[in-house]
């Protein structure tokens, strides 16, 4: 998730093209993060010093960490700590950028400072983004005072990341009574806790979600594709109901409803989270103690 968040920022800034971003998202999954890159990202070495050791490595059969210790750039403890960071998703993204010769880690760190200022984030928020942990990232996108939605939205986002796509870009969520869209699905949960999940999009925006979840190449957002969206909501609702049932809360799931012919969804109050999945913008909504209705075309 950190790769798509930061990659989309770099694309919006004109520092990456869309194709470069797509390629990076593929590459970063298989990249091996070099120790030198981590050392520079952590501020323990400069780019120049890392390059010097890389050059020395070409002439001797020694590991980067061993040479850095010999040269006095790093201590044994620091090398040990850096080795533990090699699976870090942010660093994998940084390594992929460097491997593709698009940006050095020092340049990326500079861009991250701009990202932090523009998004009014604290250093702790930036650590949350870099952690790649959805449970730490989601709260940054929920408006202050709306933390009651964290549980329900968290279940939804984790399920989408697991069953649809691992790279999802988020925009800040907002409270609304209406959300526009041309097709979508909703599911109502009733009982000791009442809530509604909804997912809508314009045109063919939901198509990549339907194809990925339904494991089928739908050609357009027809009823079959929407059935797949409804079934995704059913899984999300089921997992949420499963979670609260462990705490003794009983609920009943109603069958998902879907329509290809709506102008949006309405509700007294719902939280809407805009998501970009495979480049398409869709809206995911949750209403608590309220029922979301689909607004049919007149």
């Amino acid at each position: 998730m950190v790769a798509i968040i930061l990659g989309t920022y770099l694309q919006k800034k004109g520092l990456l093209t869309y194709d470069q971003l797509e390629n990076l998202l593929l590459q970063q999954r298989k990249v091996h993060v070099k120790l030198g890159l981590i050392a520079v990202a952590e501020g323990l070495m400069t780019q120049e010093e890392a390059d010097k050791i890389n050059g020395m490595q070409a002439a001797m059969d020694k590991r980067f960490g061993d040479i850095a210790i010999e040269q006095g750039y790093l201590t044994e403890g620091e090398v040990e700590a850096l080795l533990k960071e090699q699976g870090n998703a942010y660093l994998k993204f940084a390594q992929a950028l460097e491997d593709q010769q698009l940006m050095t880690v020092e340049q990326l760190e500079q861009c991250m400072m701009d990202f932090q200022v523009e998004n009014q984030m604290t250093f702790s928020d930036m650590e949350d983004i870099k952690s790649d942990d959805v449970d730490r990232i989601l709260p940054l996108y929920i408006p202050a005072g709306q933390e009651k939605y964290l549980d329900t939205m968290g279940t939804a986002l984790r399920t989408i990341l697991r069953c649809v796509d691992t790279e999802i870009y988020l925009e800040k969520a907002y409270v609304a009574s209406e959300c526009e869209g041309e097709n979508g699905a909703i599911q109502y949960i009733d009982g000791e806790r009442r809530l509604t999940y909804g997912m809508i999009g314009r045109g063919q925006a939901l198509l990549p979600v339907a194809c990925a979840f339904g494991k089928e190449e739908f050609q357009e957002m027809n009823e079959d594709a929407l059935d797949a969206i409804g079934e995704l909501l059913n899984c999300i609702s089921g997992l949420y109901a499963n979670g609260i049932s462990r705490g003794g809360v009983c609920v009943e799931l109603y069958p998902p409803e879907y329509s290809t012919d709506i102008s949006g969804i309405t509700c007294d109050e719902m939280l809407v989270l805009p998501l970009y999945i495979k480049g398409q913008k869709i809206h995911f909504a949750v209403a608590m103690e309220n029922k979301i209705e689909m607004k049919r075309e007149a």
Binding site: G230, E231, C235, A241, N242, E252, L253
Partner: protein, 123 residues
């Protein structure tokens, strides 16, 4: 290998389940999209096993389960649930359900549940 009837209102869910059942070496004799159709097809085809979604419009899975067991007390019905809802599961056991599978499907869970029920049938 068994003849299996799938009852689920979601086309996507039926398609995913059919693939898992066929990959496990069984035959899907028919797919039904609601409980009423499922009950009628059960009486007509007498499959070895039924997979029955709980949450369906019209006749839901629990109602269809009751009708099937009433017509054949040896019927083997695996209930499909989107949530581990304790009350619904207790009711389903009371009505004679053989096993449960939770959504989203896991192919290994589906295979194990079918094998477990078929072994019970064989003894």
């Amino acid at each position: 290998m068994a003849n299996i009837l799938i009852v689920d209102d979601s086309r996507t869910s039926r398609k995913v389940l059919r693939k898992m059942i066929e990959d496990a070496g069984h035959t899907v004799v028919e797919e039904c999209s609601n409980g009423e159709e499922g009950y009628l097809k059960y009486k007509e085809l007498k499959p070895d096993l039924v997979t029955m979604d709980i949450t369906m419009p019209k006749l839901d899975g629990l109602e269809a389960l009751q009708l099937i067991i009433k017509s054949d007390e040896d019927a083997k019905v695996i209930m499909i649930t989107a949530a581990s809802q304790k009350e619904k599961m207790i009711q389903a056991i009371k009505y004679g359900a053989s096993e449960f599978i939770a959504k989203p499907y896991d192919s290994e869970d589906v295979k194990q549940a079918i094998n477990k029920v078929l072994k019970l049938q064989n003894t």
